[in-house]
């Protein structure tokens, strides 16, 4: 039970013992009186003491409880409270599933405590009400291990049990919970799940849930699931992330392009102070933002001979400090090589598209299929195949290149029925000169066809496509025609991917040769393919432990470095750990979906957001409850008092 006006409770609470004090003072103020009928007094005292004293105590208790109820009623108690859970708890073992993910660092309105600290406080308060001897077991998202807690006070240690930059996989934690219960718990158990209901943490579509809930219902003992949800959302939050840190040459200079992504949950014109710390030097820049999203490329000149570096981008701290910074690193400058296998007259166009600007480190050349074995060991990022048929050996070599992280882009025509790279099965060539095929749907968020850094969409819908050769197996469709056919498909193989564009660059196929779509698409594929040669490893903070990490940038106090965002050195490579971007999403799982997940178990939920939102029904219900209790106590008190007065009145 929680209170909206706890101050009133503390003010009125001392008055609860007032009836007792008045009673005691009254008893102390006795008056002497000479009395004749002493025998009756003695016998009356002997026989009346038991019942009369009990009645006196009942009357006093009724008065005290009436004042207590008044205090509680005036303090506006809220029902469904987390504390209320413990009243019905009789389990021997309580397993606390603690969400320590990045989003749990969101601060409350006062800015004093984050969600995790509030969760721990509520868990401790509730645990204090449980009988002694209750065993507490902690399974937290950071360690993903079951630990018996001797003392819940240890949860207050921010170094051991603070917010991490990792995510929380609830299904995995509950699998650990199930394993623990099955092995170690014989009696009734309570599972107290805590978290902010972030949808990505629960991922209810995961098939693991079905097996998990089935496992729990098959257990012999009774398991009660209780969810403590802190679904409160920060009102004005801005998050920053670095989508890519790309080193390139521009106008004969080494530059670092940081593609920044700023996202807000509100719309207001404001200027954000952006701070970029690169190799120990901090530069500030003001960014004007008006919408909810801002993609911005921050370009930094690098000195000649620079062999790589690292840094952090940050914005001023808000109520969700966990997403206000993002780490990045970049490696040594390398040429981004591309090869074009083409027999058509448009081959030079493709070479030009792969190395569009002089002075950059992009390099493209026309190669023949027979050169593949010698070329693929020389740091190539992208191989473009246009109007060419490869034999089995060449295809095998190219597939090996893809699996190591390379990218392959294939344009038709391909011989009908010939499977390319064990992935693409081309269909018939279709032509429609009078009514061109229109691309109307594509993934503009990410990938090869994503919007530009300025937020502008690629003009795919303006392409004039007169011929196409659709794949029979579409793979992952990145863009599609009006009739549903795939324009650009992606076939992931190993670390790399094969892309198939169903229309060619030749004039009889389409106007792709104009470059508005072709250039950015090829450049993105080159960048993706170059990642395999990078000495920088970008990863998310996660439970998996890394060996021998040396902190270069970030929290040097962190005990678990794998859970703390930062730049680390590992085996002469730079390891950049950041929060998973899904941690910045605001979508929450609904209570209904949550209940569905635990449909076969006893599940109850306390949502602090609902409780603190001033739900009138809940409050009224409790107020009337305490008002009724006051009436009951006063009624009993009145009855007992009047009953006592009756014999005298008869006289």
């Amino acid at each position: 039970m929680t209170f909206l006006s706890p101050f009133l409770l503390w003010v009125i609470l001392p008055f609860v013992i007032m009836p007792v004090i008045i009673h005691l003072i009254n008893r102390m103020r006795y008056t002497p009186l000479k009395w004749a009928a002493m025998d009756f007094l003695f016998s009356a005292k002997r026989s009346s003491t038991k019942f009369a004293k009990l009645r006196e105590k009942i009357i006093l208790a009724c008065r005290c409880f009436a004042i207590l109820c008044l205090a509680l009623a005036l303090s506006r108690p809220r029902s469904g409270g987390w504390m209320g859970w413990s009243f019905s708890n009789s389990a021997e073992t309580v397993i606390i599933v603690l969400d320590r993910s990045n989003s749990m660092g969101a601060l409350d309105e006062s800015g004093e405590k984050n969600k995790l600290q509030r969760t721990i406080q509520m868990v401790r308060e509730s645990a204090a009400l449980l009988p002694r001897g209750t065993r507490f077991v902690l399974i937290d998202s950071a360690t993903a291990k079951a630990t018996t807690l001797q003392d819940l006070e240890t949860l207050d240690d921010p170094l051991l049990f603070g917010v991490t930059d990792a995510t929380c996989n609830m299904s995995e934690l509950l699998q650990i919970t199930y394993d623990y219960i099955k092995t170690n718990v014989s009696g009734e158990a309570e599972v107290w799940m805590t978290g902010d209901l972030q949808y990505s943490n629960w991922n209810p579509e995961n098939r693991q849930w079905q097996a998990l809930t089935g496992d729990f219902s098959d257990l012999n003992q009774k398991i009660n699931f209780r969810m403590l949800a802190l679904s409160h959302k920060v009102k004005e939050n801005t998050s920053v992330s670095v989508r890519s840190a790309t080193r390139t040459r521009y106008q004969e200079k080494n530059v670092l392009n940081l593609k920044l992504h700023l996202e807000r949950n509100f719309e207001k014109d404001e200027v954000i102070q952006l701070s970029v710390k690169l190799n120990g030097n901090t530069t500030l820049r003001e960014l004007r933002i008006s919408g909810r999203v801002l993609d911005y490329t921050y370009t930094i000149d690098l000195p000649e001979g620079d062999k790589g570096g690292f840094g952090v981008v940050s914005i001023p701290k808000d109520k969700q400090p966990g997403d206000d910074s993002y780490y990045f690193a970049y490696g040594e400058s390398k040429e981004l090589k591309s090869g074009v296998i083409s027999k058509s007259s448009f081959s030079k166009l493709l070479v030009a598209a792969a190395s569009p600007v002089k002075g950059t480190n992009h390099k493209a050349q026309l190669i023949s299929a027979t050169q593949l074995p010698s070329i693929l060991s020389k740091n190539y990022s992208l191989i473009i195949v246009e109007d060419s048929n490869l034999n089995q050996d060449q295809q095998r070599q190219l597939l090996s290149f893809v699996q190591q992280g390379g990218q392959v882009l294939i344009f038709p025509p391909i011989r009908e029925g010939q499977e390319m790279l064990s992935a693409i099965k081309p269909g018939k060539v279709e032509s429609s000169a009078e009514a061109p095929f229109v691309v109307d749907n594509w993934d503009s968020e990410q990938g090869a066809l994503a919007n530009s850094t300025q937020g502008e969409a690629l003009p795919l819908n303006k392409l004039n496509i007169s011929s196409r050769q659709l794949p029979l197996n579409a793979g992952e469709v990145l863009a599609s025609y009006k009739d549903g056919g795939s324009f650009l498909s992606r076939y992931g193989r190993g670390k790399g991917a094969i892309y198939y564009c169903s229309s060619g660059i030749q004039k009889k196929w389409s106007d792709l040769y104009r470059g508005a779509v072709l250039l950015p698409m090829i450049n993105r594929l080159i960048t993706d393919g170059a990642k395999q040669y990078s000495s920088v490893i970008n990863d998310n903070c996660q439970v998996r432990e890394f060996s021998d990490l040396k902190t270069l940038e970030g929290n040097t106090q962190a005990i678990y470095k794998n859970l703390s965002a930062g730049v680390y050195e590992q085996d002469n490579e730079l390891l950049v750990l950041n929060r998973p971007l899904l941690e910045s999403t605001t979508q929450q799982i609904t209570e209904k979906k949550l209940k569905n997940l635990f449909a076969s178990s006893h599940f109850s939920m306390f949502n602090e957001e609902v409780a603190s939102s001033g739900d009138e029904n809940v409050q009224t219900e409790l107020f009337s409850l305490f008002a009724c209790l006051i009436l009951i106590f006063l009624g009993v008190e009145g009855y007992m008092t009047l009953r006592k007065a009756q014999p005298g009145e008869e006289k």
Binding site: P32, K34, M38, A44, G648
Partner: protein
């Protein structure tokens, strides 16, 4: 003035109101003189009344044989059989009688009733004695008929002060053993003692053919027990005390005292004791007039 103050328990107005009434005995009395009360020894003494012709059914023992010898006719000689009344006023002078209610204390109330009844009895030519006691006999005045004796009684009453413990049981048993002839015994007490033993005393007195009357004096405060705050009750007949919250023990106290009053009244009725319940606040006139009138009418309490 001092003398008058000492005797403020005598109420002239009460005497004036009750002066025309008489104290009637409920049974035969054995007085030393002729009086207005029936004697058990009819025809055996005192004054000759008349001769009457013998009629069939008369006891032949009452035939005057001397007259028969002279006249050869049967005559029966008749005598007056009334005798005087000897009464004992038994007054409880224990500490409990000093209980001070809002209408005065019980002892003064008892003294008023004793003085009034003594006056009436002397006025009608009966003998009155006084027997004052607490745990022992304090004063004993044998029954006499003279007005001078009435003065002595009043004088004694004025000097008595209630104090000490009581021993009503022993006193009444001693009195029953002491009084040889039939008499009227009127007891003035709060009777705070064991009811069973008290009734034994009454049985003893009744066995000795005495006419027993009890004026049971209880103060209104003792009956209602209306204190609201905790009280330290100090025993008036001893040194004990008790701190109690009347609110807690009231019910039980009232239950006990009501049971006690009911029991004493019932037992007195069973043992033909003229029981009179008196509350000082209600005044002596009502109780005494009821007592006297009911005896005159032959309605025995």
């Amino acid at each position: 003035m001092k003398e008058l103050k000492k005797r403020d328990f005598i109420d002239p107005q009460l005497l004036a109101k009750l002066g025309r009434l008489t104290v009637e005995a409920r049974g035969f009395m054995e007085g030393g003189f002729a009086g207005r009360h029936k004697s058990p020894h009819r025809g055996s003494s005192v004054e000759f009344a008349q001769y009457r012709k013998y009629v069939q059914g008369d006891d032949i023992r009452n035939i005057d044989w001397r007259v028969f010898a002279r006249t050869e006719r049967h005559y029966v000689k008749e005598f007056e059989a009334d005798t005087s009344l000897r009464s004992y006023m038994v007054l409880d002078c224990s500490g409990s009688m000093a209980f001070e209610g809002k209408d005065g204390n019980k002892f003064n109330f008892a003294r008023t009733m004793v003085a009034t009844l003594a006056n009436i009895l002397v006025q009608q030519g009966d003998a009155v004695g006084l027997y004052a006691f607490n745990d022992k006999v304090i004063q004993e005045l044998p029954p006499r008929t003279s007005p001078k004796h009435l003065y002595a009684i009043n004088e004694t009453l004025s000097k008595l002060k209630p104090s000490g413990p009581t021993n009503l049981i022993k006193t009444l048993h001693n009195l029953a053993a002491k009084i040889r002839r039939r008499a009227m015994v009127i007891i003035f007490s709060d009777c705070f003692t064991n009811v069973e033993k008290l009734i034994d005393c009454f049985s003893h007195l009744h066995f000795k053919k005495h006419d027993v009357a009890v004026f049971h004096i209880v103060d209104e405060a003792e009956l209602k027990f209306e204190m609201t705050r905790p009280v330290r009750f100090m025993d008036m007949e001893g040194s004990g005390s008790l701190i109690a919250d009347p609110a807690i023990i009231r019910d039980e106290y009232l239950q006990h005292i009501n049971d006690y009053l009911k029991e004493i009244k019932t037992e007195c009725f069973k043992h033909k004791v003229d029981y009179r319940f008196c509350v000082p606040g209600e005044g002596a006139e009502g109780v005494l007039s009821d007592f006297l009138l009911e005896r005159i009418k032959g309605i025995h309490g």
